[in-house]
Symmetry: C2
Subunit: 385 residues, 2 copies
Amino acid sequence: MRSVAILGIGQTKIGEHWDKSLREIGGEAAFAAIQDAGTDKVDALFIGNMLSSTVSAQNQLGAFFADWIGLWRQEAVKVEAACASGAAALRAALMAVSAGDIDTALVVGVEKMSDKTGHDVTSALATAADADYELEQGISFVGLNALMMRRYMHEFGWKHEDFAPFSINAHANATLNPFARLHEKITVEKFERSAMIATPINLLDASPTGDGAAAVVIVPAEKVASLNGKPRITVAGSASATDSIAIHSRKDPLFLSAAYESAKRAYEMANVTPKDIQVFELHDAFTIMAALSLEACGFAERGQGVRLGLDDRIGPKGRVPVCTRGGLKARGHPVGATGIYQIVEVVQQLRGECRATQVDGARIGMAQNIGGSGATILTHILKTG
Amino acid sequence: MRSVAILGIGQTKIGEHWDKSLREIGGEAAFAAIQDAGTDKVDALFIGNMLSSTVSAQNQLGAFFADWIGLWRQEAVKVEAACASGAAALRAALMAVSAGDIDTALVVGVEKMSDKTGHDVTSALATAADADYELEQGISFVGLNALMMRRYMHEFGWKHEDFAPFSINAHANATLNPFARLHEKITVEKFERSAMIATPINLLDASPTGDGAAAVVIVPAEKVASLNGKPRITVAGSASATDSIAIHSRKDPLFLSAAYESAKRAYEMANVTPKDIQVFELHDAFTIMAALSLEACGFAERGQGVRLGLDDRIGPKGRVPVCTRGGLKARGHPVGATGIYQIVEVVQQLRGECRATQVDGARIGMAQNIGGSGATILTHILKTG
């Protein structure tokens, strides 16, 4: 694989953007990334999106956005892998640049969710699960995660409040991220008293969805000579793996084998171990997923992911800083865009732009994007230099 | 780009498969291609599909099919570009194999359309157009094509019956393809008397949709030593280009600039000209698209595409054999699968397996897959040797 560098990043504030269309949100992030990259040449466009066909009656987002942002005649395509659509689009773009056919690729993760009612969006999100064997039973996506969390608590003896540190850390970090959806610190008390959604998952275990887009411009690393003093950031590891789409088909529903597998391949490719990872933007769609991700990626023993939070190790000054810009929990989770927000945030850390939530001396960071209840998982490792 | 060979092909008969699910249809084609390739090792799966999120409430088809066909833990992803989803998935796979990260990739184009009513499918297909500026006016996808056809007839002075040879050729060829949806020869009289859909497009101008899947297994060409006497078939050219998603934004609505651009790049990459193409599986979703595709790819002058049919040059023994297995018109158009059916059919021609519709001595073939009314167009050129 030809080494690839991330030349520019862009993102929009996440929220309910009643005044902006799908076009406008994606375009805003795309132009921000192009401007940040300082290039006016883009050879190909890769879009990560999950819901536009159902929420906006719009498919073919590759051509749709190439048209909108003026990439006339250029190659463009959409990649979909449920909530992992963003990272999957990045990986497709990495392959294209690596193959040598394309030099400069723009990758945009975009989602416009607020144009439908909550009921419609819940139905649309449920398409990430197995329609024949899960949805047919009437279970929602949060319901599936609730089953995993309850089983985890039973199996390993944790109480609900033991998950609080994940949300508290995410909310605290988001207050310093202007692009985050939520800017409100929370406490254990507030976490425990929050409204129940699907027991044991309550409102503060769950990430808020929203409208948002994030973008990166990637180029062959060899073409990046000077960046006006900014460090050059390369993709040192990239891997994707799958698991059964239905949770009940897994030998062990509490082990994210696709996270394990994709992290393992990414570590090997980057020639690092979990110890070397200085910042980890993980996929905390629900607090349980944060715990399971930390375990599968080698940061904690089985059933001990929550301990990292309780031991105060997940903050920006901790041993395994996670969700340093707010994570899905507080930055927000515009599903198909999330994977690119994570990449953008790791780049911000490696550039040293995160002020009070900056991880000191961060040179190696990781992002992990999860589709469905663990069926598609991509891991990317970025490095300076 | 590392040279890539097509090692195996598979397809299902197109029809209304009330007895088979999305899973089963895609799996059938996947297993057929794996068996044909004679390999039991697949590193990654690429799915081309447009409609499963709306028709089958199923997203994340990469993991969905990796799970179903037993590619446990492997990388898998879905690519979408409306009716060009199949070829777009192939191109993503080509990039991945070219990049060197992956050796054996399985590409499946799959669509299950008959589980919804015609009205719902018409709405779902309309997401290929511009939701804000075309759909908002209430126009359907066939309506957009009808506007193009009417303008073409006005501009260049053709009558409706002048388009008949495209459908007659497709139907005649399909009678010899066991996987085709329609097995019925037609005449000019029948063509002219067929039911009007959206004037001037009648039923026999339009391709039938359907349930179906097609698949190919690709590997680095250098790894293909011997194929038991079958010719080695390589991808000599691959290119994708876009145009505005809305027809009204184009300078000239009767020129498929993305077809021109992608064909031009594919010709350059394969080092051939239109004269060298011995078989051309084009995207005849409507007869007008066959004419426009032939013109944009350099087989006819502007406004003269229909003349190739009238001059009897598009049959298997003609100068530009098109739709040799029935084309979209009679083989059928399971939208996200069509691009892979076209590739499978070009491979069948290059292998010399097409009996009475065999193009004598075919060594170079082309397939062109069109998304929307010309917004995303991919061109692939295959060669023996």
